[in-house]
């Protein structure tokens, strides 16, 4: 469990830092890294939760501190409501994160026998 929590936190932090310089898909790099080097029992869920939590909290903080009702407007453009927009945002990040960390964890497994 502890391992999993560390994995989630590292993925989230690393993704945050990479996103300062790189496009959105850099979250996948962070998740691959987390899956590759910080293996746990639930590698998919680690990336899923790590990126999901990052995107969820960033979206919520922006939504709460901004004043132009932008999320509401964009939700209206997409014919959904604001809450659903935050959920969709979170899920997209989470899904990419989960698949990437899972992919990363598969690399380690394959490499394990040759290196040791």
């Amino acid at each position: 469990m502890k391992k999993f929590v560390i994995q989630v936190v590292v993925i989230a932090l690393l993704a945050y830092m990479l996103e300062l310089f790189l496009p959105w898909w850099s979250v996948a790099i962070a998740a691959v890294f987390g899956g590759l080097f910080l293996r746990s029992d639930a590698n998919f869920w680690a990336g899923f939760c790590g990126i999901g939590a990052l995107w969820f909290s960033a979206a919520v903080i922006i939504d709460l501190t901004s004043s132009g009702n932008l999320a509401e407007k964009v939700a209206a453009i997409m014919h959904i409501n604001e809450t659903l927009l935050i959920i969709v945002t979170t899920l997209i990040g989470a899904l990419v994160g989960g698949m990437a960390s899972y992919t990363g964890s598969l690399v380690t497994r394959k490499k394990a026998p040759t290196s040791g």
Binding site: S67, K73, I92, V96
Partner: protein, 824 residues
């Protein structure tokens, strides 16, 4: 194996979420990229007090430029160097309005389909073709070529362009305006040509009005006498802009008295959509002799589309030899309407026919030569390349003659190739308006103002002027062809060069007036001058109501205050209704007793009648009479002129003013019959049917909305819409007024900038408001922060300091723009 599957799945997912998809005509933004809270659209959401950086490095600056934003986010730019001033203006404007600037240029240039795709039924491609065929890029190129010949203009435009490009180059995906992210594209570099395109796009909105095709058809169907009755010149000459009988003491240009020749046959063209004649404006200046402070007051409110991001961008420019404030057009340097320490100026559109159509006779099908004065002249073929996003590039060949491009032909809205018409438009000619604004921004007095206008050709405007030294003036400035009587009203034979514009009115013979004895000057798009002016003047339509209301109020007022002027700009008195409604009610001759027996429908008619009969003719927000009148007129007017609307060739309706006049004089009874019915209608039938239909429509309206009353603000439903028509980015506003009132607010257009300037010797006091906000970002508080004040007739006092230190009271935040290599 599992690894490869997983890797493949992840990459596919990323690729899928990194690109946009079109479903039908809707483009879905790239979902991963767009929804990412750290780089996507969420980054465009700004806190209420979002402030920019304290320092920025901007390439090309010579010295530090101080930019102070006030609480409305209006930038006050202080530069020690003139070139730096325009770099900063370009940079700051782009920072708030980049997407809008570029989108407007793309629309003007006929390049919308490269962003939006072909559109439903190829609507965007057709739009682009229209722009190309009207020669908008051709006009802009001519303007740009001329602009860079003048060193001062060249410097101003190039530095402004540099400023915009510095900003564009500093952008990452994260910083892009929302609309780029939504539509999934990126800004291009800015160019001087794009400034030219914006100018010509303005000319298209304001100076492309014409109904020559419709008039030609009317002439052939109804005859000259009827045309003169239905479409007289002038339509309404009461209260012209300048009334100076016998005061035109100059030698007018003498034109050969050859009547212009008309080509044969009806014109079977389906004309391109027209700009609404209601796009107009008000401006006036009151002399110090009539004001409470003894200082002149100048007012201006241009009526344009009420759109977001707002048409105007307010700015204060302070540099060597200049301290000017007002509104600019995002994408063009300088201030367009505003004031400086010594003078103020404003504009309304000069209604004038500046368009003509010339029938072209080609030598043969190849269209390589056309007939002119008995000779075959070569044409020039221009192949327009229209890039279509997600589709094949469209090529459209446009033929150019010495008259101009030939927009209508066998490939475009023409009738079997029989109707090739070349388009002569004043805005195709090279001109140098940027010089005018450069000089106006720096003008100190009346003679500077006049000199600045000597460089101005298009779009023709009524320039109002006032100075701290006490002068007021108005000048109708533009390049106007000197016309023979009736020239310009109909299409012309393009095989004779004598049908062309052989001479222009010398600028010093344009209509103007300085310090008139009545103590004010004013304009509201009406007929410009008294009957002794020696040139023939015609236009698609002249305004006939706002001008009279403004002048009536100004004549009555004494010791005029700024508050009086605010009240006048927001005046909702509907003179058109006042002159029309009593006549209609009289014709209606309602029989209350009989109606009472007709059940709910009859009762509704009685109630509507009472609301109309007791209405005070003010289109105020709460007025119900205003709604009933508008609904009635909107039904009656087309019903009366159904002959024009239902005819297979294109015809124009007589103006509202002339319609009412002719009705009262009982001179158009031959038009009362409704073509689509068996019976022969009288005027009373028309009035009654339209009344009953409009009341039924309002009843339905109330029922649909579950409302008991039909308030004017609800019925009109002022809508400030987004430039790209994105519904969620627009606002419905409660606002009074109507096109014919001084507060000329219709559903989609209205006063786009209300400005009042009191030119006091102790310092200029200026007030302004516009329907929107300084920021073009829908995620900013300042996207629409002035909207409510605008709708309620309130103003902001504009901070106008001479030095940065004087900004304290108004300062929101400051950003210093620094040269890239800082001196140590």
């Amino acid at each position: 194996m599992k690894f490869f599957l997983s890797l493949f799945g992840t990459l596919a997912l990323i690729l899928f979420l990194d690109r946009s998809w079109t479903v039908g005509y809707t483009r879905i933004p790239p979902l991963g990229k767009f929804l990412d809270p750290l780089n996507g659209f969420w980054q465009n959401a700004e806190p209420r007090n979002h402030i920019g950086p304290e320092d920025l490095r901007v390439n090309g600056l010579k010295q530090r430029v101080i930019v102070q934003y006030d609480s409305l986010l209006i930038p006050h730019i202080f530069a020690a160097d003139e070139e730096d001033l325009y770099i900063a203006q370009g940079f700051v404007t782009a920072q708030h309005r980049l997407w809008q600037m570029e989108f407007q240029v793309m629309a003007a240039a006929g390049r919308l389909s490269s962003i939006l795709g072909p559109g439903p039924e190829n609507a965007f491609i057709e739009y682009d073709r229209r722009q190309r065929r009207l020669g908008l890029p051709f006009a802009a190129q001519n303007a740009a070529d001329m602009m860079v010949k003048d060193p001062v203009q060249k410097r101003m435009l190039e530095r402004y362009t540099d400023g915009i490009n510095r900003y564009i180059n500093s952008l990452r995906y994260k910083d892009l305006p929302l609309e780029y992210k939504l539509m999934d594209y990126e800004p291009e570099p800015w160019t001087v040509l794009k400034c030219g395109l914006l100018l010509k796009s303005m000319a298209q909105t304001l100076n492309m009005g014409d109904k020559d095709i419709e008039m030609t058809n009317a002439l052939k169907l109804f005859g000259k006498e009827m045309v003169d009755l239905l479409y007289p010149d002038p339509d309404c000459d009461i209260d012209p802009i300048v009334n100076n009988p016998g005061g035109w003491n100059f030698d007018a240009v003498n034109l050969a008295d050859v009547p212009p020749a008309l080509p044969e046959g009806l014109v079977g063209i389906d004309p391109m959509p027209k700009y609404d004649p209601d796009v107009g404006s008000n401006n006036w200046a009151v002399s110090g002799s009539r004001t409470a402070t003894g200082a002149p007051i100048l007012c201006n409110d241009p009526h344009l589309d009420t759109s977001l991001p707002s048409i105007w961008y307010a700015v204060h420019l302070n540099g060597p030899g200049v301290n000017v404030m007002g509104v600019s057009i995002p994408g063009a340097p300088g201030v367009i309407i505003g004031f400086n320490d010594s003078i103020a100026w404003g504009v309304t559109n000069a209604q004038r026919d500046l368009v003509d159509w010339y029938k072209i006779t080609y030598q043969n099908e190849r269209r390589e030569h056309y007939l002119l004065d008995g000779e075959w002249r070569p044409t020039e073929k221009k192949i327009e390349e229209i890039v279509v996003r997600g589709g094949a590039t469209v090529y459209d060949t446009v033929i150019y003659t010495h008259w101009g491009p030939v927009p209508y032909d066998r490939n475009f809205r023409g009738d079997e190739g029989l109707n090739d018409y070349a388009f002569r438009w004043i805005a195709h000619d090279p001109s140098k308006e940027a010089t005018t604004f450069y000089k106006l921004n720096r003008a100190k007095n009346y003679s500077d103002f006049m000199e600045a206008l000597d460089h101005y050709a298009s779009p023709a405007q009524n320039f109002v002027f006032a100075s701290v030294s006490g002068d007021i003036a108005i000048r109708i400035q533009g390049k106007f062809p000197a016309r023979r009587k009736d020239e310009g009203k109909f299409v012309l034979d393009g095989s004779k060069s004598s049908n062309g514009w052989t001479a222009f009115i010398p600028f010093e013979q344009n209509i103007m007036e300085k310090n008139p004895s009545r103590g004010f000057v004013s304009s509201a798009n009406q007929y410009p001058v008294d009957s002794t002016y020696p040139y023939f003047i015609t236009a698609t339509e002249f305004e006939a109501y706002r001008n009279r209301r403004i002048n009536n109020v100004l004549r009555r007022l004494n010791s005029v205050t700024v508050t009086d002027m605010m009240r006048l700009q927001n005046d909702n008195y509907n003179l058109h209704a006042a002159e029309t409604l009593p006549f209609l009610l009289n014709q209606l001759a309602i029989d209350t007793a009989a109606l009472r027996d007709e059940g709910p429908e009859g009762i509704a008619l009685i109630k509507a009648y009472h609301k109309l009969a007791t209405w005070d003719y003010f289109n105020d927000k709460d007025s119900e009479g205003a709604s009933y009148f508008q609904a009635w007129w909107d039904d009656f007017y087309p019903r009366l002129w159904d002959e024009m609307l239902s005819h297979p060739v294109s015809l124009a309706r007589p103006s509202e003013y002339n319609t009412v006049k002719l009705l009262k004089e009982n001179r158009i009874s031959m038009f009362y019959d409704v073509q689509s019915t068996e019976t022969r209608e009288s005027l009373r039938d028309l009035v009654r049917t339209s009344f009953a239909t409009s009341v039924a429509r309002i009843e339905k309206w109330k029922e649909d909305r579950e409302l008991k009353r039909v308030r004017w603000a609800d019925y009109k439903d002022t809508y400030v819409r987004h430039l790209a028509r994105i519904e969620a980015l627009g606002y419905h506003v409660q606002h009074g007024g109507v096109g014919n009132a001084v507060n000329a607010s219709d559903r989609l257009k209205g006063p786009s900038w209300r400005m009042i300037v009191s030119l006091e010797k102790t310092g200029i006091k200026a007030y302004g408001v516009y329907p929107g906000g300084q920021s073009g970002n829908p995620g900013s508080y300042h996207y629409s922060d002035m909207l409510e004040a605008w709708a309620n007739g309130r103003y902001y006092r504009l901070a106008f300091p001479k030095r940065p230190e004087e900004m304290q009271l108004y300062l929101f935040y400051e950003t210093d723009l620094n040269p890239r290599e800082k001196e140590n």
